[in-house]
């Protein structure tokens, strides 16, 4: 099969790779760009483990072909924060025990960030509804809900600090 060049800006870095036109974005991220924090949990776009940000929107990366995102800006879990400087969502998941095996977690955090983009102060119920696109088999979701709520508070705080400081 003839290969096609795909260039993206991923986590702030410009990266290119030659891929088969049929390659899924999720495999492009994991196998071509070696960013393995994004996971694959199903073949039918139900589980959301592969969720990433493409041009500011949360998408399941198994629903797009790599060639469709040529020129796009992508953020994966690796682009959120580092161990030394965790993103508020990561920090909240840590503090509230929002993960167990950690396999679905990168996708769930992405979905949650997408949720908070639209609703800064979601209720428990809105969080549960908002996580419709992800499946976690370990946590029973309760501490994920706590984590998202906590993250919303942390993010609100951070914005305030940024606002006053600058």
């Amino acid at each position: 099969m003839e290969e096609v060049n795909v260039t993206v800006t991923i986590n702030g870095k410009k990266r290119s790779a030659k891929v088969e036109p049929r390659m899924l974005l999720t495999h492009f991220i994991r196998d071509s760009l070696s960013l393995t924090g994004t996971h694959i949990g199903c073949d039918t776009s139900q589980c959301g483990s592969c969720s990433v940000m493409v041009d500011g929107h949360v998408v399941k990366s198994c629903t797009l072909l790599a060639v469709q995102v040529d020129g796009s800006e992508i953020i994966t879990v690796e682009g959120l924060g580092t161990v030394q400087n965790l993103h508020p969502m990561q920090k909240a998941f840590w503090e509230e025990h929002g993960l167990q095996c950690g396999y679905c977690t990168p996708g769930v955090m992405m979905a949650a960030i997408g949720l908070l983009q639209e609703n800064l102060e979601p209720s428990d119920e809105e969080i549960r509804e908002g996580l419709e696109g992800v499946i976690c088999r370990c946590t029973g979701y309760q501490f994920i809900v706590s984590a998202v709520k906590h993250a919303a508070a942390l993010m609100a705080e951070e914005k305030q600090v940024v606002g006053e400081g600058r």
Binding site: R30, V77, W94, C101, P106, R137, G140, Y141
Partner: protein, 785 residues
């Protein structure tokens, strides 16, 4: 440093997982790595007439193609590791690929190795297999009938084993004042961790060492079994479980696929990677449950239970998997009396071969089924004699003063106080008030129900001598090594194998308290057979009780040796040395002390050691507990049924668990939530469905209702602490309590809600359609699928 045990501490493993730095099987990339895919049978039962691989061999990037015939005599059969004695168990041989006959949808037929991940899947489409269909046996009770199609020609009536424990003579039932009878179908479900199975093999022709990374909950069992299957010395086979994305029992099994990948890597002398697809996982990875349970419970009109007789007809699938036979027998049948002092009990279990995927342990393994039947029966009995279900429970509980309590099947419950969590849960619920409200709501036409599950569970596997007596092909002790480095930092090697539970944190808390060193100074090695000498893995809620027990003993040995060195340096006798919070001191003599780090250094430098004391500071302990542990508790569900739609809403879920010592409340609550979600999932939504032709109809997350966040209410949790005498920590298992308790609690609540219709039982899962039909027919449709 003291006081870590019992503290709510966030997990050490998380920063890595949260930043995308986990290392799961599919993240492994090796130079020259090839990709594997397995062509699986689309038929439940058929003869393989021919396999045409001509076109496939010409496909670009193909490296090798193996059929079952190609591998005959080259890979051994995949054995079951739980051969129940006295059950006339007939183990049908399972080969890594079907040779001339497929026996379930998903049975492996051809293994393809190719250069790339997408290409290898293309090749599968080019293989032509000609099948001749055979008649199928799918449901266990039908499969046992005379003239039912045989899954294995030489196994009569498809009966894999027939096991009995205990005896209840007919007159105990027939002459009892009250007898209630019910039949329950605990439907087949899929453990379905979000990470599917995977295996990566790498062979070094130079030294003949084969390394196999695989999604295993018990890498040492994988090594033990696969070394035989692949005919390779255990010393040359290294099994590593990297980060594992959940297991729930589904990754206990030693599967044909793992043997195939090990074989191919060795045969081709190139690394081979196999990553299972989700629909493949639904058809080829072990399922759980699928037991039809017939129960008779006898007692007196004033509520004293006298005898229970249970028959379990279990669907084992096409082959007996690794732990499969133990689930409906030992795990189920010895616990049928639950938390109650019922003097007589008997269980009879049939394990039946069918043309379906094998069943094995799924979270709780036998105990959720056992709890489900007894807790449902208690409610039925209470209703029959007009007694409050809580009162009937109290009346028959094993009494606090009777512990250690021997149940009717001969198991000795280590410790218990069943009233304690029940009282606490009732207090949280405000039971009296709620019953009044329920009455009022019923009068308004609203269907609200309250369901209880006052469970007890057998876990913490366990004493090895018992394992031997019940046919488990291995031991169930645990192994821990603590290595103290010259800096005073330590590495702990444990034979348990975590896959989400948070062992690193929990065990660090134990070691930190023992040695008086900070959590950050403690690192762990798990799940690598080359690094950890031996161990039996993580299942049956055994890690803290048994693995933690071994770690505690190893820590004691470190302290014992360090005390000798400290005494020598402080020029006193060992008896005078006290060790507290990381400091060795002479009682009553201020200033005379050595810190743990000082001793770490002097032990490793060995400049000045007491006579007879070896250099270094390292200790290993093998812990074989004298008994299992028996966590217990009370779960209460308040459910409301929508009359018009049949939809069920869980209004409240209260879980009060007693798991002995709670080492970390945060992770413990997490375990409880996760366990409950899986039990509630079974009660309400989940289910593997086969057509009468043995076709799998629930092969994806589109068709198998995997619970989502909005399905659940906020779970209210609490703990009581009744310590276990079995291990130093006083800890019991917590991983499976939620699943064990929750199924019955939900079902009891829904049946209670439907009481105005005279409903006494509903079959799982509680689909709105089923409930709606029951309401429409005024309860007549009760107990139909």
């Amino acid at each position: 440093m003291a006081g870590k045990v019992g503290a709510r501490i966030k997990r050490k493993e998380d920063p890595r997982l949260l930043t995308g730095n986990g290392y799961f099987s599919d993240d492994i990339q090796l130079p020259g790595m090839l990709h594997a895919a397995i062509l699986r049978s689309p038929h439940a039962h058929a003869l393989i007439k021919s396999i045409n691989i001509e076109k496939a061999l010409e496909a670009p990037g193909v490296v090798a193609i193996y059929t079952g015939k190609d591998l005959e005599g080259k890979i051994g059969r995949i054995p079951s590791s739980w051969l129940i004695p006295g059950s006339n168990l007939k183990e049908a041989p399972q080969y890594p690929l079907a040779i001339d006959r497929v026996r379930y949808v998903g049975d492996g037929v051809v293994l393809v190795i190719a250069e790339d991940r997408y290409g290898v899947r293309d090749v599968l489409d080019l293989i032509e297999v000609d099948y001749e269909f055979l008649p199928v046996s799918v449901r266990q009770k039908e499969a046992m009938q005379e003239n039912a199609p045989l899954v294995h020609d030489d196994i009569e009536n498809n009966i894999a084993f027939h096991w009995k424990a205990g005896e209840v003579p007919d007159e105990e039932i027939e002459e009892a004042e009250v007898v209630v009878r019910e039949s329950f179908n605990v439907q087949r479900v899929a453990p379905s961790p979000i990470e599917t199975r995977a295996a990566i093999g790498q062979y070094n022709p130079g030294n003949g060492e084969l390394t196999l990374w695989c999604t295993s909950q018990n890498p040492h069992i994988h090594r033990m079994v696969l070394s035989e299957v692949l005919d390779i010395s255990e010393a040359k086979l290294r099994v590593i479980a990297p980060d594992i994305g959940g297991g729930f029992g589904g990754k206990i099994g030693v599967y044909p696929d793992e043997a195939l990948i090990g074989y191919a890597a060795r045969d081709l002398k190139q690394p081979v990677k196999w990553i299972e697809e989700r629909n493949e996982h639904f058809s080829a990875a072990n399922h759980g449950r699928d037991e039809i349970i017939d129960v008779e419970l006898a007692g007196t009109r004033d509520g004293k239970l006298t005898a229970i007789r249970v028959k379990n007809t279990a669907n084992m699938g096409a082959y007996l998997s690794t732990f499969g036979p133990g689930v409906p027998t030992i795990d189920f049948g010895l616990m049928i009396t639950g938390a109650y002092d019922i003097p007589k009990a008997a269980c009879e279990t049939f394990g039946v071969y069918t043309n379906t995927t094998s069943t094995d342990a799924y979270r709780g393994a036998g105990k959720p089924e056992s709890t489900y039947q007894i807790e449902r029966m208690i409610d039925l009995f209470a209703r029959e004699i007009g007694m409050d279900p809580v009162e009937l429970r109290r009346k028959n509980f094993a009494k606090k003063e009777d512990f250690p309590f021997t149940n009717a099947q001969g198991l000795v419950y280590d410790s218990g106080d069943y009233e304690k969590p029940l009282n606490k849960a009732l207090e949280i619920l405000d039971y009296k008030k709620l019953r009044e409200e329920q009455e009022a709501l019923r009068n308004e036409g609203k269907l609200v129900g309250i369901g209880f599950s006052t469970y007890v569970e057998l876990c913490g596997f366990g004493p090895s001598a018992v394992a031997g007596a019940i046919g488990f092909q291995g031991g169930v002790w645990e192994n821990a090594t603590i290595r103290v480095h010259p800096s005073g930092k330590v590495t702990v090697f444990s034979g348990t194998s975590p896959h989400g539970q948070g062992h690193n944190t929990t065990f660090s808390q134990v070691v930190s308290d023992k040695l008086g060193i900070p959590l950050e100074d403690i690192e762990f090695v798990f799940s690598d057979t080359k690094a950890v000498s031996m161990g039996w893995g993580t299942y049956g809620s055994r890690s803290v009780a048994v693995g933690g027990g071994a770690i505690s003993i190893a820590a004691d040995r470190i302290i014992e040796k360090a005390k000798k060195i400290a005494a020598h340096e402080l020029e006193t006798s060992v008896e005078d040395i006290e060790f507290e919070d990381g400091v060795f001191k002479i009682s009553g003599v201020p200033g005379m002390e050595r810190k743990f780090v000082d001793i770490a250094k002097s032990a490793n430098y060995a400049w000045n050691l007491p006579e007879g004391v070896e250099p270094a500071l390292e200790a290993q302990a093998f812990f074989d507990p004298e008994n299992f542990v028996y966590p217990f508790g009370t779960h209460i569900v308040v459910a409301e049924v929508d009359k018009d739609t049949g939809q069920i809403e869980l209004k409240r879920y209260i879980a009060v668990d007693d798991v002995g010592r709670v080492i970390n409340p945060l992770t413990s609550e997490g375990q409880v939530h996760g366990g409950i979600a899986q039990g509630v999932g079974q009660a309400m939504w989940e289910g593997i469905v086969y057509s009468d032709q043995g076709q799998l109809l629930s092969g994806s997350f589109m068709d198998y209702t995997m619970p989502k966040a909005r399905f659940f209410p906020t779970i209210e949790t609490a703990f009581t602490e009744t310590l276990s005498p079995v291990n130093q920590l006083g800890a019991k298992g917590i991983g499976e309590t939620g699943t064990t308790a929750s199924i019955a609690a939900v079902m009891n609540a829904v049946v209670d809600a439907l009481q105005p219709y005279g409903v006494t039982d509903v079959e799982m899962p509680l689909t709105p359609e089923k409930i709606w039909n029951i309401i429409q027919t005024g309860g007549e449709n009760d107990d139909t699928i």
